[in-house]
Symmetry: C2
Subunit: 318 residues, 2 copies
């Protein structure tokens, strides 16, 4: 493959990588995500120039892939980026391409889709043709590979798995619905489950860590308490694992992946969730005895989105 | 394409078609589904012989595709056929193939997947590359085309959309879980919603049609009353449409089809459900303004599964 650059725009950070012709990370950088949209484009190009230092090609001629946290259509226009509102409605592909060499590939796509391609190509799902990747952060992102190919959807919007409603009587979601999966099974969802337990008077250990205010309890407080073996915190993690398993089982019944890869800080930090998760998942998916379906933690960590975007840009280059 | 035969095994009927080289139905037959598994294989071969009459090839040499109501793995073994228990665990492809010409294609697959391929190839979804087909009957079946190719899944199990849990506090499902989508949005689900209304003392019109017993109310009674404009029956249909829309929105958020095709007797008989459905669906899917996403009734009716299975068998033949 060609050498290529990938950039992952998160709600808080911009992470860039340069891959060499063997697909290995040669250089990388990380900076804060700017608030305004025009600054986002500048930040991408600044990061590109940074990681291109030392490459044998000018930055604007290298294939570039950029992952954004939201729904991007097949033309590269952003439609629903709840964690980066400023880019909504912008033709991101064009805005980037017109500041680069017209012969260089410029690819934009959803960040979790990019991360899925990376885990499929060089990460935990190497060798699997049917992959479901789930990233657990503020919300839930999803990417899917079917028959060895990225599943993009008719408009480019495939993978909005966090807004699958799993309890219409559940808590309201900023999207306007009630009981979206990410209200229960994202990092924020864990925080919400923990606060419910804290308000009910259990989870004293996490409340103390949060400065004594039950409403200030976040996901980190309960995972820390669970890692120390605190029984009430373990009970919250178990409840969280059940909700996570429920959504994974729903998606497996629909898509039938051969492997599920879980990404996001929560999973990397908290292997304790994996055991109850695998148990509940086997109870919730149809015909578990007939499926070989490992549920694994992602391997590429925070660089997955940038690596996947770079790999896709390199492929488009041929 | 080659001339081919398709057979669709339902819980109650076996429907067979013979397609000519242009893909048109030249002959078809329908018979009752036998109860025992060995009789099912005999019934398939009997139907094949029946529709092959008048063809210029012997029945056992024609490409054959057979759709079954359940989960079939990629080797052709049945794993979970709740409406045709007798075949569970059987290697259906081998049992059929060993009674046919060894050079003839013998393909087995899920019935809704076969129906989806038919609607994509020659029905309501002609010309669309990303299709979601949903069949509403006793349960809910699903088939999906992505990038113009059938989505089979890693084990062959893709499309078990009826067992997507949408309300964990909902009614129990024979699969062992609670609140599966098909408890609300299948033909049986409509009957359940209608009985709930009947037991609550509304829906007198449907109760009368059911012989005066609220517990005997079925989906047909409420659709008939709704077609006559009876307000309480229309309210039940509206509730039903909301649950149907909820699951379709979930699946659209995950898969992002370009078209949704609804099949099954309920939809063919009851266009009245489509208007509230389209309204609710637009409220439940993410970024509806950015998607062209028609929701249409199937065109091929009860022959869809058999036609799709025949088309696939013909393709395998080249």
């Amino acid at each position: 493959m060609a050498s290529a650059i990938g950039v992952d725009i998160g709600g808080t950070k911009v992470l860039a990588v340069r891959l060499n012709a063997a697909g290995e990370v040669e250089a990388w950088s990380k900076r804060r995500t700017p608030v305004s949209a025009s600054d986002v484009i500048d930040a991408v190009l600044f990061s590109v120039a940074q990681v291109a230092e030392g490459a044998d090609q000018a930055p604007e001629t290298l294939p570039l892939g950029v992952g954004f946290p939201g729904m991007l259509d097949r033309n590269g226009t952003a439609h629903f980026c709840p964690h980066l509102h400023s880019v909504d409605g912008m033709d991101l592909r064009r805005l980037l391409a017109e500041r680069r060499d017209p012969n260089a590939a410029t690819v934009v796509l959803n960040d979790a889709t990019a991360a899925c391609w990376a885990e499929h190509s060089v990460g935990a799902a190497r060798g699997f043709e049917d992959v479901l990747m789930v990233t657990l952060g503020t919300g839930i992102g999803g990417g899917m590979v079917a028959h060895g190919r990225l599943l993009e959807g008719g408009h480019g919007f495939a993978g909005e798995i966090g807004h699958m409603v799993i309890d219409p009587h559940g808590p309201p979601c900023p999207c306007g619905k009630r009981g979206c999966w990410e209200r229960f099974a994202s990092g924020d969802g864990l925080g919400r489950l923990a606060r419910e337990a804290a308000m009910a008077g259990t989870l004293d250990c996490a409340v103390a860590a949060a400065g004594g205010d039950p409403e200030a309890v976040r996901g980190e407080h309960v995972t820390e308490a669970a890692l120390k073996g605190q029984p009430e915190a373990l009970a919250v993690m178990k409840e969280y694992a059940w909700w996570l398993a429920l959504g994974l089982a729903n998606l497996s019944n629909v898509l039938d992946p051969s492997i599920i890869v879980l990404g996001g800080g929560l999973i990397e930090a908290e292997q304790a969730v994996m055991e109850p998760l695998r148990h509940d998942f086997a109870n919730l998916v149809e015909a578990p005895e007939a499926r070989a379906l490992p549920v694994l933690a992602a391997e590429l960590g925070e660089k997955a989105g940038a690596v996947g975007a770079a790999l896709l840009a390199a492929q488009r280059t041929g």
